[in-house]
């Protein structure tokens, strides 16, 4: 009885990708455009979502799913107070959301009422990008205080996203952040990446982001009454 080699050649995490495809199909039947927001803790994910709601809530219907490692509902509560449906998925300590967690979130969500679904992933610059959720876009938020070397240190994160928001630009005068150096790293890893520099504090740049997003939502669906 000698060992025998069996070729497999199967992507690890392919099970996650399959569920992600089901999520996408489900969102598309409901005519929903969806984005997955990833960033390190405190980069401004919730702040960007709040600004996006502020600018777009009179035009389209938005829903938010919050991923958190612990049953702390601070972020979800902020969203609900803004008058937008939000639910929280507790990852039970996991460093990322995965497609199965989003699927169970979608289960509980009033999908018929929304045009745009925003998912706030767990604050982490390494893990979330390995787990596709099935959303239409992966958005990364970088923020000025994190430093200009992040693309150089976390290349995988910058490879796996479609949109880059550069938040907290109001802090540029106070922090040694070399924007050219930062953007060079971004371009080396992901030349196609569309970026939006903005400040959630002053509101500068927020409109270009929300107008662009609105366009994408409209291309995808007919906003609901």
């Amino acid at each position: 009885m000698s060992p025998e080699k069996v070729a497999v050649v199967e992507k690890i995490l392919s099970a996650n990708d399959q569920v992600a495809q089901l999520n996408r199909a489900r969102l598309e039947t409901k005519n929903i455009f969806s984005i997955n927001i990833m960033a390190s803790p405190g980069a401004g994910k919730t702040s960007v979502i709040m600004r996006t709601i502020q600018n777009l809530q009179n035009t389209i219907k938005i829903g938010v799913i919050e991923g958190d490692t612990a049953p702390v509902t601070i972020d979800a509560d902020k969203i609900t107070q803004a008058g937008v449906p939000a639910i929280q998925i507790n990852t039970g300590g996991d460093c990322h959301l995965d497609a199965v967690m989003l699927a169970s979130g979608l289960e509980q969500f009033p999908l018929s009422d929304i045009d745009l679904l925003i998912v706030e992933n767990v604050g982490n610059l390494i893990c979330p990008v390995a787990f596709q959720l099935g959303t239409h876009l992966n958005v990364l938020i970088a923020s000025i205080p994190e430093g200009d070397d992040k693309p150089y240190k976390y290349p995988a994160m910058y490879r796996g996203v479609d949109i880059l928001i550069i938040n907290k630009i109001d802090l540029l005068p106070y922090i040694d952040f070399n924007m050219d150096y930062f953007l060079q790293g971004v371009r080396m890893l992901n030349p196609e990446l569309v970026s939006f520099p903005l400040s959630c504090k002053t509101g500068e740049g927020v409109k270009s982001w929300t107008e662009w997003l609105l366009q994408r939502v409209r291309q995808n669906s007919h906003p609901k009454e």
């Binding site: 009885m1 000698s2 060992p3 025998e4 080699k5 069996v6 070729a7 497999v8 050649v9 199967e10 992507k11 690890i12 995490l13 392919s14 099970a15 996650n16 996991d94 460093c95 990322h96 995965d98 390494i126 893990c127 390995a130 787990f131 693309p151 150089y152 240190k153 290349p155 995988a156 490879r159 060079q184 790293g185 371009r187 080396m188 890893l189 030349p191």
Partner: protein, 114 residues
């Protein structure tokens, strides 16, 4: 720190293929891992010993083939390895580069006994 989900995925894929091949035991598992996939093989090994217990794969040895991340300079066509910090082309200094390898992450083959 998502090595646990990764390890579970490895176990699921290996067991499925082993059953299909009517194996009584899996002895070795070969995994191809690009440098950019940010997985710590030691942690996978650690979880593996725990979660593979009492399965077809119990005791199977994990082999990791590490693929370096390579960058191709689009200006002078020089190809170089991304080691440590990301850098522009060392030959001509151009930042116009393309990642060619390093994102691989798959289970390549298993060795079984029937």
């Amino acid at each position: 720190m998502h090595e646990l989900s990764v390890t579970e995925s490895i176990l699921e894929i290996a067991s499925r293929h082993a059953k299909q091949a009517e194996a009584i035991k899996v002895t070795d598992i070969h995994i191809v891992l690009g440098r950019l996939s940010s997985i710590v093989d030691d942690s996978v090994q650690f979880y593996w010993d725990i979660i593979s217990e009492n399965t077809l794969c119990s005791g199977a040895k994990l082999h990791f083939k590490r693929i370096p991340a390579m960058l191709l300079c689009l200006n002078c066509q020089y190809e170089y390895q991304l080691e440590g910090e990301l850098m522009p082309c060392p030959k001509c200094g151009s930042p116009q580069v393309k990642v060619t390898t390093g994102e691989e992450f798959w289970l390549d083959s298993i060795e079984i006994e029937r």
